[in-house]
Each structure stands twice: as C-alpha cells, then as structure tokens.
Symmetry: C2
C-alpha cells in the first residue's frame, strides 16, 4: 500500500489489463497481427547485425530505416519520421501538433488511444458520432477545431473512406493539422500519401505491426512535408534522443525493401478475408464491408458477449467491447485460412443451435 501523503502526487489513470497472451495451441485472432512471418530478408538482416556494436548508441536520425521508407514511397528523407510503433509516433504527433484551445476532433467509435493521449496531454476534444452504418459524416469535421485525427480504414469498424472523402476534410481544414492514421491501409486501397504534396496540413501515419508482420519489433512512421516532419523531430530530440534500437532499424529497412513478399502477403490476407466474410454471411452474420485485416461482425440472433466467452473457452481469441453502440459486435482478426476455418466451424456448430 502506498501511504496517502505519497499517493496524492501520483498520476491517476484508468486501470488497464494487458491483452491476453494465449498459449501456443490457441487461435489468436484478437490483436490484428499478421498470420505470416516477416520477409526472409528480415532474418538475413538480423543475422548480419554486429551485436558487438550494440555497445554504441543507435543512429538518432534512424537513417537506414528513413532512407528505405523514403525510397519506397518516393518522398524525401526529410519527409519521414520513425518511432517505436505507431503508438509512439501518434502520441508524439498529439504532443507536437495539438496545442490549441479549440477541441481536436475524432470519431466517437475509433482507436481508443486517441482519447487517452488527449487526456494525458490535456488537449480538449470532441467526438462526432459515426452514423448508424458506422461511417464518418465528413461535414462534422468542417467546424472550428484544433486538429483532426482518424484512422482509415477506421478501427474497429474496418470501414475505408475513398480519397475524395479525405480530400474534402483536408480542404475544409486548411488551418488545422489533419492526421490520417493508416495502420490498416495496405489491406484497403489508395493511401492519403498521394495528397501530401497538395495539402501541407496532412500527416499520414503507418505501422510495421500489421501488413509488414513486425509487431514484435515496434516500428511506426509518419510521412508529411519536410516542415511538419522537422517539428516532430525537434520535439522528439528535445526530450528523448535515442528510441529506435539498432535491431529495429536494420530489420525494418530489410522488410521495406522486400516489396514482392509484402504484396504477396497482403494478397493472401485479403483473399482469406473475403472467403471468411462469405462463410460467416452464410451463417447469418451481419458485418461492415471490411477493408482491413479484421472483420467487424454481429449475429442478429446471438449475443456477442456470450459468443465471445464461448469462443474463448475453445481457445479462440477475438475482441469484444462492452460498449453501448458496438456491444453486439465482435472484431475478428483475419488469420491463416486454417485458423479461420477453425473459427467458422465453431460458429457453424454454435449459431446453428441458437
């Protein structure tokens, strides 16, 4: 127990329980990881690392990784910022760009950490409601604001908005920073990166944790114009010079360079997604049109909370939120076809009984 006089100056936060780490035999469809390993080039880069050099600090500019990403996206190296997962990048974006008295805007149903970072940094915010089809209403983002952030595709809805939608929000907010969090865009379609030259208020963030099979190495990045990227670097360097380990830099660069493996991997996941979605629909499941590596589904006759628990008993892990608007939905990561078959077989047996 902490004595009261010590306790009074300690930050109060909402308690959090880390995600479940199921045993090996489980079917883990709860954290949107990639079911396939990283590119074989990652192992090669890993083996080639000089561990003796670990005694030295890593390159604070993360040059090797920045260069690989710049080459991949055909932008300047001064247009890339990298961090320890996109959570690190996004958190730093909040700190750097959202310093207004006016509220920042993000959807009511979206990535849960936006609210957390806003609270942490004492940034005011408003959360326009998604409509009944879980879509953003773009006009909600035309009001005065201190910045805008949303994922595309959105999470956990899996819904992707086309670039004209993004562009409408950008053009109505020329005096606000707009961050498009593209954690899942590689499973979706065109990236807002195309708009970066035309909109100097746009920042796009992406991650290695999903489409590049590297959640375990913690790599994320932002792409924007050189001016905004310099602001991110200035803030980062001002309070933490070295964050990316030598191993992360080398493995990350290797992963980016193997484009063919990456594209093949994405194709397989999309194919499995479409197949699994079809099978679940046959069983009566209703769902959004997923453009991510997960499905957002409900069954009209079957309580989601109960289904979640029953799946868990079978060691099939999916995600469920006890929330007013999405409490009847499950979020199911697209795993291998074999994993999805185990899930679907379970659903066949259970929903048939309902």
């Amino acid at each position: 127990m902490i004595r009261d006089e010590l306790l009074k100056n300690i930050r109060k936060v909402e308690p959090y329980v880390p995600g479940e780490q199921p045993q090996k035999k489980a079917v883990k469809l709860n954290t949107n990881e990639n079911p396939y390993p990283p590119s074989p080039e990652v192992r090669k880069a890993f083996d080639a690392l000089d561990t003796d050099a670990f005694r030295l600090y890593p390159d604070p500019t993360a040059g090797e990784l920045v260069k690989a990403l710049a080459g991949n996206f055909h932008v300047g190296e001064d247009q890339i910022f990298v961090g320890v997962g996109s959570d690190d990048v996004l958190s730093l974006c909040f700190l750097t760009f959202f310093n207004s008295d006016r509220p920042i805007l993000f959807p009511d149903i979206t990535y849960s950490f936006y609210k957390v970072w806003a609270d942490l940094y004492r940034i005011p915010y408003e959360r326009p409601k998604l409509n009944d089809d879980f879509r953003m209403i773009k006009e909600d983002y035309y009001r005065e604001n201190g910045g805008i952030i949303f994922p595309n595709p959105n999470a956990p809805t899996a819904i992707y908005e086309e670039l004209d939608f993004i562009e409408d929000i950008l053009s109505h907010n020329r005096s606000s920073i707009v961050i498009v969090d593209e954690a899942y865009v590689d499973f979706a379609g065109r990236s807002a990166l195309e708009l970066i030259d035309r909109y100097d208020n746009l920042i796009v963030t992406q991650t290695f944790s999903k489409s590049r099979s590297m959640a375990g190495m913690r790599i994320g990045y932002a792409v924007s114009n050189p001016g905004l990227i310099r602001c991110l670097n200035d803030v980062k360097y001002s309070f933490n010079s070295y964050t990316m380990s030598k191993a992360a830099l080398a493995c990350g660069a290797a992963a980016v360079k193997d484009r063919e493996y990456f594209e093949q991997n994405i194709r397989k996941i999309i194919e499995t997604r479409e197949w699994a979605a079809g099978e679940l629909r046959k069983l009566g499941f209703v769902m959004t049109e997923s453009r991510a590596n997960f499905l957002f589904v409900r069954h009209p006759k079957y309580d989601a909370g109960r289904l979640f628990s029953e799946l868990r008993e079978e060691k099939i892990y999916v995600r469920h939120w006890a929330d007013e608007r999405i409490g009847q939905y499950l979020r199911i990561t697209v795993g291998t076809k074999e994993e999805m078959r185990i899930l679907i077989d379970f659903m066949k047996r259970n929903t048939a009984m309902s």
Copy 2:
C-alpha cells in the same frame, strides 16, 4: 516553410543537434558508451531468437527481462519496471510521480533532460546549486518539495555520494518521491537499492547503456516497492502498451545473467579510469574524483573550448559545454587503454606547448 496559421498550434522547443556520429577511425569518448562489446551470451540469445515470431506483439509485461533483473537484484518481479532506455523510464517517472504544485528539486549541474521533462510536463522545479567542489549540499533538499531527483554518481561531475548521504535525503523527505538515477553506479560503489525496503519513497533507476554495453538496444529500468512500480505500469499501460521489442527483451535478459562478464568488464574500465586519471594529473590536469566511466577534467593553463576543438580536429571526440560554471571542463569517456593512450599522447603534445 510552415504557414503561420498551422504554426501557431505547434509545440515550440529548443532546437537540438543530435550527438556527433564520427567515422570509424575516430576515438569516440563523447557519449559514455562502454568500450567493450556485450556479453557473448547476448549474441547467443540473439541468434536463438525466432524472427518468425516478430509478427506477434511482444509480451507487454516484459516478463523475461523483468524476471532476470528481479533474480539479479534479489527483489520481487513486482518491484521492477522496464523501459526503452533509462530516458524512457525517467520521463515516465516524471509523468507519474511529479504531480504536485510544489517544485521538484534537482541540482543546477546535472543530467540535462531533467529540466526538459519538467518543462514538457509543466512541472515546477528548483535547482539547488552544487557547491564549489561540485558536490550536492544535502540540506538544500530538506525544504518543501514536490519530489526529488538526482544522479549518483552525478553527471557530468562524476562525483559519487555514499549511502548515508542518500539516506539523509530520504529520511528528510518521507512525503516526497525521491528518484536516484544510477546510470553510472556500477562504476562507483554501493547502490541505493539496499535502501528500498526501508524507504517506501525511493525509486532507483539504472540502464543497460553503460555498464552492460547495450546502448544500441535501448533498455533501462526502475526498482522500487511494488506499490510505486504498479503506478508506473498503470501509467505506461494507459497510453502505450508495447514498447520493448522482442529482441531487446531477449538480449537484455541474457546480458543480466552473465554476471562474471559484467564484473570483469567493470573492473577493466575502473582500472583504465584510474590509470588515465593519473596520467592526466601528471600533465597538470585538475579533476573531480571520478566514480563513473568518464573523467571531468580541466587544465589550469588551457582553455577547454580550444582543447575541445583541437581534439576534434584530431578526430578525438569528447564533451564540452559552453556553460558558466563548467565551461572550463571537458567530460572524457573512459575508453579502452589504447584509446586513452591516444588521448593522453595528444594532451602531452598540446599542453606542453601552452
């Protein structure tokens, strides 16, 4: 250029230039890295890593590394918190524990990031002056405060205070959190870890970047009582669940377990430090009594700024601050004996001419 209307909400920070990354032939004595590679056990653990499993998120509890550290220090696993270098750990400590309206206290001459984090999180602070011998005056820390932090040994002074000094500060501050930043303690003597059971207001932080030759992997940790460690974890999990990569966890655990290598490595560095200090004294240098892996020296007849530049022309990199109180000092990392000999030979040639 960023347009004014965008610029007005962007955080302003003091510009920072990352540390120099000299070429291979240089003698790099500027960032207090360890001149010896990590334990051979680190390479083994590294080679044994399953890179395919990088597709999965790392263990958010960092169990493997926490367990190794707890075993090493004979404390409970619930008494260890790990982070991405001790900068990450310390920054999170500021955020978690320094939430008072009263100022926190740290020395005027000390690790420069304390001031940065206090500014970043809007924590008021006061900086009691070190005395003319660069020692902390413990009575300065007996006044009302919102928390206390100092390194032991202090940086860049290299001065170590014995445990009775630390204990006096702890016992006069039972209602404040006191953080002892022991980045360099392995080169010094007894750690304040001994005091943890007796003082529930004490947090000790250490790092893998110096004595464990792992700056490149970014690992730091805090040790305290279970109550305070839980507060750190609660705050960390509330806004960033996964920070330590799978590679860092495995390599860190391996490094901790090889105690013999670690101790041998420390002994070599201390031996080189004492030898180099003696040689520099023969040349007329004046210095503090170093208990760290660096020397803090000045030459009565030789301007430190000029010496710094001349060394740099010879590709010998040390550290110099253009600061009122320490502007005549250089901070010189203790490298290998060969590296120190190159430095001392240069000093012989140059100070002889003055």
